[in-house]
Symmetry: C2
Subunit: 441 residues, 2 copies
C-alpha cells in the first residue's frame, strides 16, 4: 500500500507506555468502541477537556498552543459564536423546507463574498457532502464523468469522493474515470509551474477522452494542502483552468482548507490566482466547529441539477448552524482576521525562512497567510524528504505543548495552520521552539 | 420522470398569492440564493421563527402543532439538550483525533442499546454519510457490490447513496449494481408479507449474481417509511434477512427514521422483527437537530474497513454533537419517551381506525409507535391511491395549524411523525381536525 494521509502523525502502540492512567483508560475505551480504524494524533495522544482562543487544555490543566486546528478558525469557543449557537438552539433548530430569515440572510451574506456569476448556494453538513454534490452537478452540467485531481489530493470520504482522493493510499481504489496529475510543485518540479501544471491537466483530459470518458471537471484544493501546500507563484492555476474550459469541463475549487480568510488575501484561495471557478466547495471553518458546509455555483449549473432532481439535506443549512456561521463572518470582519492572517502569517513565514538559512533540514517554506508548509529534507542534498525528522519535530513540539502536524505524499512537510487569532507572540513562541528542536538535531 | 419524493407536498407557484408580504419577500430571497431546486413544504409555505416542545411559531405568533418533525425528536428546543449544547460549545468543540471522555462516554452509552455482536461505532455528520459508509463497509466485507433496496426507498443524497434511492424518481439513475424489490405491502399486496418479501429479495440476489455482480447487501428502512410505512406483521423481515445471510450478504438496517425510540417498542425498529442486522445506520433524531449520525456494526466488519483505510470524519463525533446526543438519551430515558410513543401512538392509531370505519377514503392505517401511515384512497374501491385528497388533508391541516406530510410512491399516504413529547391531548386535536376535514369531504 502507498502512504495514506490517515497514517501521518498517528498514534503508535509504542507510545502507550508514556500515557498516564487517564489517557490509557481513554485509549482503551476508544479501541473498544471505535476499533482500530479511527486515526489518533501523536505517538503519545492528547486528551483535551477545554479550549479557548489559540489554547487547548488537557485533563491535567496543561496548556497547548494550537498551531494546527483550522476548524475553530476564529478561535476555540469564541464567545460571539458560542452565544449565537446557544441563542439559536434555544429558539429554533429546523430545516430548509420552511422559509427562514436566519437561513436566507446567511445565504445572502455568504454570496456577498463572491462575484457574479457565482450567485447560488446549497448548504450541506460537511466538506465531503459538498464535494460529492459538486461532482453530481459537474456530471449533470457537462454530461461527462471524467475527473482530474492532483496526486496526493484529499477531498473527502464518501464512496464517490474517496474515488478522487488518492491521499487514502492504495487501500482505496481510485475510480476508472479519474486521472491524477502531479501537484504544482515549485520546489521539486522543474520548469515553469503554471505551464507544467496546465500541460499535465491537458494530458489527463486527453487521456480520459481517449478512453471514451467524457471530461467533467478538474477538482483541486486552491492551496494544494494535502499535496504539501503549493501557493506560488500566485496565478499559476489560470492556464490549467483555461485548458479545462476549452475542453468543455468545469473547474471545482475546493476551498475547505483555504477558505474563510486563511490565505490572508481575501476570503477564498482561488482569488490569488485571478480565476473564477465554476463551482466552489467550502466547509471546515465555516461554522467554527458546527457542522456546516456549502456549494456555491452559477445559476445555470444549479438549475441543471434541479432539472434532474431537487436537493434536500436534512441538517444542511439548519438554523443553528447558519446562526453559528453568520457569527463566524461577524468575527472575521470585526477582528479583521484576513489582515491578521496576512500579517501574522508573514511573521511566521519570514521567521521560518530565517531558520532555513541556518538549518539545512528546512528545504522550503511556502504557503499563504496562516497556512504554511515547511519541507523537512535531508541536509545532505537539501531535497530528499525526511519524514522521520518531520515527525520528530511534530512530536517534539507536542512535548513542548505546541500542536502542528504534517502533510504531503511523503509526510515530511510540516503543516502549520493555527486558528486565525494567532498572534505575533504566538508565532514567536512557535518559532523559538522549532529552533530549539532544530538545535538539538 | 417518475414521481419524486422531493415533489411531495411542495410549494406551487399558485400558492404565491396567499402569502403575506413577509413570506413573499422570504420566498423571493430564497429563490435568489437557493435557485429552484430546494423543496419547500406546502402550497402555501410556512415561516417559523421559534419552536418549543411540539409547537412551532410563525412570524405572526401563530402556533402550529407539529405532528411531522422527527429530527427534534425529544421536542423542539428541549431545555436539557439546549443546555448541553451551550455548555459544551463554550468548553470545547473538537474532533476525534484527540482522546475525549465526552466522545467515548457517548459511544459506550449508545452501544449499550445494542446487543452483541454489534459492538463498534463510527460517527458521521448525516444519515447520508452513514449509509455511504455502510455501503463501503459492505463492499469491503463481502467483496461484492450488488445492492438490493425497496422500490420507493429513500436512503440519502450522496452520489453512491442516490444510486440506491429510487425515491428521487427517474431523474436520478439507479446504479447498474442495484436491484429494487416491492415493499412488504400488506395492504395492496396479496399473500403472506414475509414470504413474499423474502422471495423478492432472493430473486433480486439471483438476478445480480446472474449478471456477474457479487451480492453485498440488502438495505432497508426497518419501517419502510418512504415506501409508505410498512410495519406489520412484526417479524416479517426475518426470512428476507435469512436469505441475505445464506447468500453471503449483509443486512443493513436503516434506522434513520425509526430509530431512537419512535416505534414505541425499543430503541430500534429492527428489534420488532427479531433480527440482528450486520450494520445499523442512524441519524436524524440522534442530536435533536445537531448534525450527528452513526454506523454501528460488528468488530470484524469495522476491521475489514480498517484493513483498507482508516476513517476520519472532521465533524463526525465532535464533542458538541456528542454532548447533544448524550442529552437526547437522557431525555428519552428520563421522560420514558419510548413508552410514551407506544401509548400516544396507540391512541392516535385507534383514533384513525375509528375514523376509517366512518370515512372510506381512509383505506388503511398502519405503523408503529409515533410513526403512522394513513392510506388515502378512492372511496369507490377502497384501494386506488388518491393523492389529491391526501394533499387536501395535508394543506387543510396546515390551514388549521397542524403539520403533517405525505409519503409513499403515489404520495397518498399521510405521514404522521410528531416529536415524541406528543400527548394524548395533541393526538385528540389532530384527530378532531382530520375528522373535520373528512366531514367536509
Amino acid at each position: 500500500m502507498s502512504q495514506s494521509m490517515l497514517a501521518l502523525n498517528n498514534f503508535a502502540a509504542a507510545g502507550m507506555s508514556a500515557l498516564d492512567p487517564v489517557e490509557r483508560s481513554l485509549l482503551e475505551r476508544r479501541s473498544r468502541t471505535f476499533g482500530s480504524g479511527v486515526p489518533l494524533f501523536y505517538a503519545r495522544p492528547l486528551n483535551f477537556v477545554r479550549a479557548e482562543g489559540v489554547w487547548m487544555f488537557d485533563h491535567e490543566g496543561r496548556r497547548y498552543l494550537d498551531a494546527y486546528n483550522n476548524v475553530p478558525s476564529v478561535g476555540h469557543c469564541h464567545p460571539h459564536v458560542v452565544a449565537a449557537i446557544a441563542r439559536q438552539a434555544a429558539q429554533l433548530n429546523t430545516h430548509t423546507r420552511y422559509l427562514s430569515d436566519v437561513v436566507s440572510s446567511y445565504a445572502e451574506r455568504l454570496l456577498g463574498y463572491f462575484a457574479a456569476p457565482l450567485s447560488r448556494v446549497l448548504f450541506t453538513s460537511s466538506g465531503t457532502e459538498s464535494v460529492d454534490l459538486a461532482l453530481r452537478m459537474a456530471q449533470y452540467q457537462t454530461g461527462g464523468t471524467g475527473l482530474v485531481v492532483t496526486r496526493f489530493a484529499y477531498h473527502g470520504h464518501s464512496m464517490a469522493v474517496a474515488q478522487i482522493t488518492p491521499a487514502f493510499g492504495s487501500g482505496v481504489a481510485l475510480g476508472a474515470h479519474v486521472r491524477t496529475v502531479a501537484a504544482p510543485d515549485g520546489f521539486r518540479g522543474t520548469g515553469p509551474v503554471a505551464e507544467n501544471f496546465a500541460a499535465a491537466v491537458q494530458a489527463a483530459i486527453d487521456d480520459l477522452e481517449r478512453h471514451g470518458i467524457g471530461f467533467a471537471a478538474l477538482v483541486t484544493d486552491t492551496l494544494f494542502t494535502s499535496d504539501g501546500v503549493f501557493a506560488d507563484p500566485a496565478g499559476f492555476l489560470r492556464p490549467a483552468v483555461d485548458a479545462v474550459h476549452r475542453a468543455g469541463g468545469l473547474y471545482v475549487a475546493d476551498e475547505v482548507q483555504p477558505g474563510f480568510g486563511r490565505t490572508g488575501s481575501g476570503m477564498w484561495g482561488y482569488s490569488r490566482h485571478g480565476i473564477v471557478p465554476d463551482i466552489v466547495v467550502m466547509g471546515k471553518p465555516m461554522g467554527n466547529g458546527m457542522p456546516i458546509a456549502a456549494v456555491v455555483t452559477r445559476a445555470e449549473i444549479l438549475e441543471s441539477l434541479a432539472a434532474h432532481t431537487g436537493y434536500f439535506n436534512t441538517f444542511g443549512g439548519n438554523t443553528v448552524c447558519c446562526a453559528a456561521a453568520a457569527a463566524v463572518l461577524d468575527v472575521i470582519e470585526q477582528e479583521s482576521l484576513i489582515a491578521r492572517a496576512a500579517r501574522v502569517g508573514g511573521v511566521l513565514r519570514s521567521g521560518v525562512a530565517a531558520l532555513q538559512a541556518r538549518y539545512p533540514v528546512i528545504g522550503d517554506v511556502r504557503g499563504a497567510g496562516l497556512y504554511l508548509g515547511v519541507e523537512i529534507v535531508a541536509a545532505a542534498d537539501g531535497q530528499s524528504p525526511d519524514t522521520a525528522a518531520a515527525l520528530r519535530i511534530v512530536n517534539g513540539l507536542r512535548e513542548r505543548q505546541i500542536l502542528i502536524s504534517t502533510c504531503g505524499a511523503e509526510g515530511n512537510v510540516l503543516k502549520i495552520r493555527p486558528p486565525l487569532q494567532f498572534s505575533e507572540e504566538n508565532a514567536a513562541q512557535l518559532l523559538e521552539e522549532i529552533e530549539s528542536l532544530l538545535r538539538q538535531g
